[in-house]
Symmetry: C2
Subunit: 244 residues, 2 copies
DNA sequence: CCAAAAGTGTTTAAGATACACCCATGG
DNA sequence: CCATGGGTGTATCTTAAACACTTTTGG
């Protein structure tokens, strides 16, 4: 009936220090895992993890299972990005040295984007054909995956400014400085600590745990947690559907 | 390979006076065309227009062709809304008297939303099983289409505030009052004419045509057109892809 | 001249930004 | 007591909202 087969792919973001992945220190930045293609088309190129949609699987469910298979992680946040379905998107890319696909295999990809926690990503099991890359320094990708990653980054940077998704990169409790560092890394610019504090407090998304973080060689910062009543990401009527 | 067939549906919005469709006068409001289902499941119920994805058709292309088949219209604006693919979404709805679907026919729907012009919608050819309904007073719909329409309305109302999509409801040139009426109808509240003028002027999306609209029994208003250089709807990296 | 909507000006309030300054802890 | 980041106060700038007022047409 339908003229296309259906796949689900996921853009997975983690926030890590910019040295080698798994080490501490240095600037924090966004990283994402890619898988190396072992078949034509684009054999040998890096691509977004994904796979065909299972018979009785929901779309978000398929994205979650891809994420688990690739990294062994569960997403802290998951949202649909876009459905890509141009007939030519499996073919050659302009200016690319990649091998063009044989035509006839039409694939529509429903793409999700996910955020995983800092600590969890560190412990992520990594397979033979899986590697993490800095989001701002990617190799040439298969298919139209470069456009997809670019769009996912754009969505993430927009959304971090009007929702509380930044919390997905952190643990259950955190200091305002840690939260601010997430914002700074995602947005790529520094923020005034004083004004950041006021903005977050005014938004009402934080709760004071009453505890402080000790062991630092300066005044101990308070620990906060996110207010459960505030939705992780405002998606309107889709809210109940998105994070079930 | 894939366990689901693929369909493309479209939520089509027109802005019309709230009397009977095709007449003048009264409040302006959003209307949308629905088609009556002539087969199980949900036979006799109203549903969003749509159909299976053609073999060599792009997703947006399929949405446009559905729109043409249903209303004879070309969209002034078209954007992907969401891909719906829960395995149970073809089944019965809670509290509904509709007939549940036979299971086994899994359908993933990529849904688009479209805006059509006032004047064009008036001349739209209407088929036997197609009827326009006010967006705020819909009958019970088939499948999960009520949720889909609700989400489309939410997106439209959000987007009208930070993009220039309102122009899609108007002709090539228009007065500020006409533009304001579009905003008021979509948002469902009145806006201060003085402040509206300043906001729009400050945003830089309008160009003065130098002409005025005559024949009104008060001071003739200026006619404006939209600045081509400003993108119709900011979709970031997808901009080039969205309106091609 | 009058009604009606176009268009301008002004006042006020709210929000964002910049930055000075005090606080509390480890060493 | 000093260095360091946590946390507070405040002056300033920008933007949005409310609303009085002037302008220009048709009747």
């Amino acid at each position: 009936m339908s003229g296309a087969s259906l796949a689900v792919s996921t853009v997975i973001f983690a926030l890590r220090s910019s040295g080698r992945f798994g080490e501490d220190g240095g600037e924090r930045g966004l990283w994402l895992p890619l898988v190396r293609r072992i078949r034509e088309p684009y054999e040998g190129r890096w691509a977004l993890p994904g796979g065909p949609l299972g018979e009785s699987e929901g779309l978000a469910e398929a994205a979650t299972s891809t994420l688990a298979k690739t990294t062994g992680l569960a997403p802290r946040y998951l949202e649909q990005l876009y459905a890509f379905g141009d007939p030519e998107r499996s073919g050659e890319q302009a200016g690319s040295a990649g091998k063009p696909a044989a035509s006839g295999d039409r694939v529509v990809s429903v793409v999700y984007w996910a955020l995983v926690g800092d600590d969890e990503a560190r412990a992520a099991r990594i397979g033979q054909n899986v590697r993490w890359f800095p989001a701002d320094d990617l190799p040439a990708l298969a298919f139209d995956h470069e456009l997809i990653v670019e769009y996912a980054l754009w969505r993430l940077r927009n959304k971090v400014e009007y929702s509380r998704i930044a919390s997905a990169f952190l643990g259950a409790t955190f200091t305002l400085a840690q939260l601010r560092e997430v914002y700074e890394a995602v947005l790529g610019r520094t923020l005034d600590p004083a004004n950041f504090r006021r903005q977050i407090e005014a938004s009402g998304v934080l709760e004071d745990t009453g505890e402080v973080l000790t062991g630092v060689r300066h005044r101990p910062p308070r620990l906060y947690r996110y207010n459960q009543a505030v939705d992780l990401a405002d998606q309107g009527p889709l809210g109940r559907l998105a994070q079930k």
